[in-house]
Symmetry: C2
DNA sequence: ATTAATTTTTAGGCATACCAAAAATAATAA
DNA sequence: TTATTATTTTTGGTATGCCTAAAAATTAAT
């Protein structure tokens, strides 16, 4: 298998399994990779032979230790590049994902470590996702989704789980950038939309959007 | 055809044809790309169909206008990255070629132009090769190979045509870095090796090495 | 517990990008 | 000019990574 193919599968499995705590279904992979389910079955069998995943027919897939290691490496490369593009090269947080998707496949540890060093070995990328260190160690956090937030509580925006340009631009518009403080005012009973205050302005967040915003409780 | 394949063929044809002044033979391509000649024939027929090259059976290949345009773009990406790696990230000139070989395929003009801007839009890369500008315009120069240099004349090292780590390290050892001034002392009659003075030290250069060093006449 | 819907797998195909070996063509030397 | 050598092309294969359509297995609904 081509390394780029392997890397894309492992990275996607890692992301879909929520840090390898859950098993991933073929369908999920097919959707994320925009690939036919039949092709996914085929690829997983090969990845199983290569000892990167444990793939059980009609049940699901999870990464082996070797698979996690490789996945963390790709995730690191992706997130270091995203951070570098934003912090050092002046790109917006909504445009770096696509570029990092290509840069992440450039295989040279010295390069990534050099970039990380210049950035001061950051632990979170511009979307609030944790960056594994050179050994694959990842920062644990007690963040929750905005959709799980409680009324009248204070939170700080820590990240997003959707990296699409459209969503990030939408957040920018409402000043919901990383680090922004927010207060949950009310949660609508009939549709679960969240009314919050950010930068002294009231914002109405749909349940779908609230699922994609990661926050940390304050106080 | 995969874009990466196309890019590698066009770039190599460009480099081998000395700025598209000469026709390139299949064998040359096969050697440079480390690919079977049969595969080269096949690829060239496709590139011809795609209008990137004019390929005449059993004669040779040259780039079309579209082919040159694409080749210059790849060459630009490669050389900008090499310069950035050396100037901004602290890599040695002997280790950047391999990395740039991968980075050159990341397709994002804004990124390359941003890097170029940071570097002050350089016109030559760390090996002395000219960097095409965003429009494909390339700096003309009157440089010659060291092998064509005349006795007792002064020259300045401007570049190399061999990018192998081994060769570049060899040059470093003799202080033959870009910008270094040299005086050709003698040219051995029987084997054409060149004895020159660089940094007040005498150095003996083999004809093969002299073929790979680009110099500019001074005075 | 059946039926219905969904997911997964199998089977058969296709394009890409390579290869080795043989045949055709061109270049070089005797 | 002919013979020898080198290069190029043809022919017939292979592995990869995708696809569609249909079958099989699993899951959900009645």
């Amino acid at each position: 298998m081509r390394t780029e193919t392997v890397e894309n599968y492992l990275k996607t499995i890692y992301n879909l399994s929520a840090d390898n705590t859950a098993v991933v279904a073929n369908q999920q992979l097919a959707d994320k990779l925009a690939i036919n389910p039949a092709s996914v079955t085929e690829a997983l069998r090969k990845l199983h032979e290569l000892k990167y995943v444990i793939y059980e027919k009609s049940y699901g897939t999870r990464l082996t230790t070797a698979g996690v290691k490789m996945a963390l490496n790709i995730v690191r490369r992706h997130r270091i590049w995203e951070t570098y593009l934003v912090k050092e090269l002046g790109f917006g947080w909504d445009e770096v994902h696509v570029i990092a998707e290509e840069l992440e496949h450039v295989k040279n540890d010295k390069l990534i470590n050099k970039l990380a060093e210049i950035l001061g070995n950051p632990v979170f990328d511009p979307h609030g996702d944790p960056i594994p260190d050179a050994k694959g160690k990842i920062q644990k956090s007690n963040f929750i989704k905005l959709s799980e937030a409680k009324i009248k509580n204070n939170y700080k925006v820590m990240g997003v789980t959707d990296h699409s340009t459209a969503f990030l631009k939408y957040l920018d518009k409402h000043h919901l950038i990383i680090g922004a403080g927010i207060i949950v005012k009310t949660i609508e009973e009939f549709d679960n939309s969240i009314i919050l205050v950010c930068q002294k302005k009231e914002v109405n967040i749909s349940p779908k959007a609230a699922e994609c915003i990661i926050v940390q409780a304050l106080n």
